[in-house]
């Protein structure tokens, strides 16, 4: 099971946090800090796997990918295959790239809700449900299209629409 997905900048700023197993909100920053310290201490050209049972509890491992100014981190337990998760990170990044055309950190900062949408298509309740980036893109685009259609109504202030709905 995947326990968490994190995207953070190389300065240690969280860009996206999604926890699939419950973590109390006040602990989130500690987790981010712990992971960041771990990753920033690792040299380049070493393996992408780290055991993190000190941070996430027994058996927890993480796979990370360092791309430009970002770390993409997937935390999971022993039921996943490290290499496969590494490719899952790749799927995620490829999907982002398709979505934003040459994705950069700013895209991710400003559109973190879109990142959540993409992740929700890939992972649900900690289980991987979709691994084809093409398929993911299709769903995301459809969501965007349908959202745009219904967008027109939302320009009206809510007090007015509430009055209408009464």
């Amino acid at each position: 099971m995947i326990q968490a997905v994190m995207v953070m900048s190389t300065q240690g700023k969280p860009r996206l946090l999604k926890f699939y197993s419950y973590q109390p909100p006040e602990k989130h920053q500690d987790l981010v800090r712990g992971v960041f310290q771990l990753l920033s201490a690792r040299p380049d050209s070493v393996s992408n796997f780290v055991k993190v049972d000190a941070i996430f509890g027994p058996g927890a491992k993480l796979v990370y990918k360092h791309l430009a100014t970002l770390y993409f981190v997937f935390v999971f337990d022993s039921s996943e295959n490290e290499l496969a998760v590494l490719d899952l990170v790749q799927v995620f990044v490829e999907t982002l790239d398709r979505c934003f055309k040459n994705v950069c950190e700013l895209d991710i900062v400003f559109n973190f809700n879109k990142l959540h949408t993409i992740l929700d298509e890939m992972i649900l309740g900690g289980q991987v449900i979709e691994t084809s980036s093409e398929q993911i893109m299709r769903s995301v685009e459809e969501i965007a299209r349908l959202e745009k259609q219904s967008n027109t109504t939302s320009l009206i202030p809510k007090s007015i629409s509430e009055r209408f709905s009464r």
Binding site: V32, A54, L83, D87, E130, T131, N151
Partner: protein
């Protein structure tokens, strides 16, 4: 330039507002990015939060704006700020009929809340309604939120709809419904157990995505109860075959691999189903062989599948051909340059050696490389492998390696783990007790605070008990070597508390036992310990009782030691406490001699007291009793309250305060020692000291002299002998202790002598047991004198006591096949010949494979007792035999391994 470009991009995005982000949000992100300090960032965000609080409560905000405000709130919370005031707004937004708002609401809710949150109850209703929606996106959003927010109690409320959705025309919905059901199953298996059959049905879904998603819950179910899913083996194998043969739509291809994630999941499931099941495994060999053949080692995902195949093969019923293929792939992994693949290779190797330990042999170089690798992850993984491979023949190298690594890491969590592994391996496989103690010392020195305190107690007991040998000489030799090493270490700064406790205890017990170190030297060291750790009461207590013990020994031997000048004989440090007690209304202490009505025998002191402190409460009438008590010496013996006299003495006569100290330390372990006393010295000892026990001070002084003479005479022969006998002297001579014994045990003393056994049972330490030389198995006797033959020392069969590391033994041990032991019968006499056939190691004509050939009937010989420290002779035999048969890695130049030899 780069900055300009990003600014341009920001502007473009700001103006286009593609995802509804406004200039304000842009500014917020930018100002946070430019913040120079954490404080500045916090200021910016709390300003933002104030703003959001106002705006969210404002009814005139356009609804589209609401969405953005909420997203900003999510952002602020992600940065670690409390946004709980906005949670209710998120919940409200899930009610909105507009899709983007509803989705944003669900997103925010599932990020803000969890199933235990109070507000969830408000969301459940909405989820329920939305699951029935016509818009599949709404349904999807509701299902996603349900996965996160529906707790055990809420499951029945949404369960019927979720089950209905399993048949939804949209595959995205079916997929999510399967996952939601799985999630409910994880939360509360009982509430959905009747629906488990739905997962089987969904396995036949025509959409590969849904089928793939169904594998997740099935995997969990099969893990729990593989037997009820054995009928699915054939279906899983079929699916895997079809996937591997590219029957799925190409959109599921990933880097030219057909649906790799589905393949991996299937392999995981097959591994569980085939475990220990020959028939089920038989169905799998074909497809596994196919996958191996088609395996693509160039891409990452191809390797992921191959790795999963190896895992599967090592888990199912073993098949020689499959294992060969797995071993071959493993060696490819290990030879790869990629750290990731090496990591997987080590992991795979760890799985394969469980089935066939020989596999490790050919990869020894690669394994050692990984151990040397700068990559910490890889190193740890390799240690894990070594841990699995440890045997009594290689434990020394492996544990030494582990300790060396342990010293250099700072990660507490891992340090604890590796320290406890060292302890575990050392306890299980230690080749000699000497080595065990040295290893434990190292572990304690570097990670003492992280190890279970039980281990420290074990070590102390081991040193005290000896090793069950009758040969006391070996035990005392070991003790003095422990003392030596501790004296060396004790001065070092920052030793862990539990290690200091051991050190103090051992120094106290055995510090002066072999006469190498003077008592004052040891006491000085102990004093330093107590001084250096003013806050650690336990260590100080250990140190103090150790000092007292040494004094007791010295007194017992009739030596006079100078008390450390630092000791405050007037107990002035208690003045404050006393003063405070007075202020609180405590009555001042009245010396016993001055109390009315109490005729104490202790008032032989009264003469001294009278001059100094007794004016206030003295009455002439009481002059008489002292004389009386002096007159009647012997009859009062048994009535003497023991501690008081000793207490007085501490004040007045320094040299005699030691016995009192001993009686103090006696509180911890004294009973036992008295047992010993009675046993060996029995009545004479008892009677000799019974006389002085209640005499006047002058009498006592002489008696002290007498007793020390006794001690001195015995000391010459008993000096280097066991602790027990020394202790006997100590107790025998120390008059205070005799009295304590008399008062504590009284007449029962003599009875106890008869029923000594019962007394021993009740005693807490086993020291006496050793002193009594209870018969113990003597098989470990050989240990210190017969280390494995040294490679460089061909002529000399026996070397000195610390077993020298033989490079070949180490290597064999580390990577040699486990079948090293069966070989013994080949050369039963090898232990006597002692000169190992070295040539056979280097001659290439000796095949490695011989091992397995020559292992026939010898099992009876080498059922080695796996007690702590198996017989070294056996190990020696094995070792020599193994070499003659050529088990040692044949083609490898030993110099390559010099890193392993330190």
């Amino acid at each position: 330039m780069e900055q300009l470009r990003t600014i341009g991009r920001e502007l473009a995005m700001g103006s286009q507002g593609g995802w509804g982000q406004s200039k304000e949000f842009l500014d917020l992100v930018k100002s946070i990015g430019e913040a120079r300090s954490k404080a500045e960032e916090d200021r910016i965000i709390s300003r933002e939060l104030d703003h959001l609080k106002r705006r969210l409560a404002d009814p005139d905000v356009p609804r589209r704006k609401m969405k953005e405000l909420l997203l900003r709130l999510v952002y602020a919370e992600m940065l670690g700020h409390d946004a709980s005031f906005g949670h209710i707004h998120a919940v409200k937004m899930t009610h909105d009929e507009s899709l983007p708002l509803k989705r944003t609401g669900y997103l925010a809710v599932s990020l803000f809340l969890d199933e235990r949150h109070d507000l969830v109850i408000l969301v459940v209703n909405t989820i329920q309604k939305d699951l029935r929606s016509d818009n599949y996106l709404v349904v999807c959003a509701a299902l996603t939120a349900a996965c996160r927010l529906i707790g055990e109690e809420a499951i029945p409320a949404v369960l019927p709809q979720v089950v209905e959705l399993l048949a939804h025309p949209k595959e995205a919905v079916r997929k999510k419904a399967v996952m939601a059901l799985h999630r409910f199953y994880q939360r509360s298996p009982s509430s959905v157990s009747h629906l488990v059959s739905n997962f089987r049905k969904r396995l036949c879904d025509n959409d590969p995505g849904v089928m793939g998603a169904t594998l997740c819950p099935l995997y969990d179910l099969i893990l729990e109860d593989p037997n009820s899913y054995k009928d699915l083996v054939v279906s899983f194998v079929n699916i895997l075959k079809q996937v591997a043969e590219r029957r799925l739509p190409t959109s599921y291809d990933y880097h030219q691999m057909p649906a790799p994630f589905i393949q991996i999941k299937l392999l995981k499931i097959l591994a569980v189903l085939g475990s220990g099941d020959k028939q089920a495994s038989g169905n799998m060999y074909m497809v596994l062989g196919d996958i191996f053949r088609k395996g693509d080692t160039a891409s990452n995902i191809g390797n992921a599948i191959l790795y999963e195949c190896i895992c599967c093969i090592s888990s199912i019923f073993p098949n020689a051909k499959m294992l060969d293929a797995a071993a071959e792939t493993t060696s490819k992994f290990l030879k790869s340059d990629s750290h990731n693949l090496k990591y997987m290779g080590i992991d795979a190797l760890g799985r394969l050696i469980k089935i066939n330990p020989d596999i490790a042999e050919e990869h020894q170089l690669a394994v050692i490389d990984c151990l040397e690798d700068p990559d910490d992850t890889l190193k740890r993984k390799t240690f894990e492998l070594l841990y699995k491979m440890t045997k009594s023949t290689n434990v020394e190298v492996i544990v030494d390696r582990m300790i060396e690594y342990m010293i250099n890491i700072t990660d507490h969590h891992y340090k604890t783990e590796i320290a406890s592994r060292c302890v575990e391996l050392a306890e299980q496989f230690a080749p000699s007790n000497q080595w065990f103690i040295q290893t434990m010392n190292k572990v304690f020195e570097h990670a003492g605070d992280l190890v279970n305190i039980r281990v420290a107690h074990n070590l102390m007991r081991l040193i005290a008990e000896g090793f069950g040998e009758e040969d006391e000489g070996a035990d005392s030799q070991l003790r003095s070597s422990a003392v030596d090493s501790y004296l060396r270490i004790v001065g070092e700064p920052k030793l862990p508390s539990s290690f200091l406790q051991i050190i103090c205890w051992v120094l106290g017990e055995y510090g002066t036992a072999d006469g190498k170190y003077s008592a004052s030297y040891i006491i000085g060291k102990l004093y330093d310990v107590a001084e250096a750790h003013p806050t650690d009461d336990t260590v100080r207590a250990y140190a103090i009782s150790a000092i007292l013990k040494i004094f007791a020994f010295e007194i017992a031997l009739g030596r006079k030691i100078d008390m450390l000048p630092e000791i405050d004989r007037n107990l002035s440090f208690l003045n404050g406490y006393v003063q405070q007690a007075f202020e609180n209304g405590a009555a001042p202490y009245i010396p016993e001699s001055e109390r009315s009505g109490v005729v104490s025998v202790g008032n032989y002191k009264a003469q001294d007291q009278q001059e100094t402190s007794a004016h206030a409460l003295r009455f002439e009438a009481y002059e008489l009793p002292p004389a009386a008590s002096q007159a009647s010496i012997s009859p009062t013996t048994d009535l003497v309250p023991v501690p008081e006299p000793s207490y007085y003495k501490e004040d007045h006569q320094m040299s005699r305060s030691q016995p009192s100290g001993d009686s103090l330390s006696g509180e911890f372990g004294l009973k036992l020692r008295l047992d010993g006393v009675q046993k060996k010295w029995g009545r004479p000892a008892y009677s000799s000291s019974s006389t002085p026990s209640s005499s006047t001070s002058s009498q006592q002084a002489t008696n002290g002299g007498v007793s020390s003479e006794v001690g001195g005479s015995t000391s010459s022969q008993a000096r280097e002998s066991t602790y027990g006998s020394k202790r006997q002297q100590a107790t025998e001579v120390s008059a205070e202790k005799q009295r304590l014994a008399a008062s504590l045990f009284g007449k029962a003393d003599r009875k106890a002598q008869a029923g000594r056994k019962t007394a021993k049972e009740s005693s807490s330490t086993e020291k006496v047991a050793t002193a009594n030389a209870t018969p113990q198995p003597a098989k470990e006797q050989v240990i210190p004198s017969a280390p494995p033959p040294d490679l460089l020392d061909l002529g000399e069969p026996v070397s000195s006591s610390p077993p020298l590391a033989d490079p070949f033994t180490q290597l064999e041990g580390l990577l040699g096949p486990a079948s090293a032991s069966p070989v013994v019968s080949e050369t039963p006499a090898s232990s006597t010949s002692k000169t190992p056939d070295l040539m056979s190691i280097f001659s290439d004509d000796v095949q490695t494979g011989v091992t397995s050939g020559s292992t026939e009937p010898s099992l009876g010989v080498n059922v080695v007792a796996a007690k702590k420290g198996p017989s070294l002779q056996d190990a020696l035999q094995k070792d020599a035999a193994a070499r003659q048969v050529g088990v040692t890695p044949t083609g490898n130049n030993p110099i390559l391994f010099k890193d392993l030899l330190g």
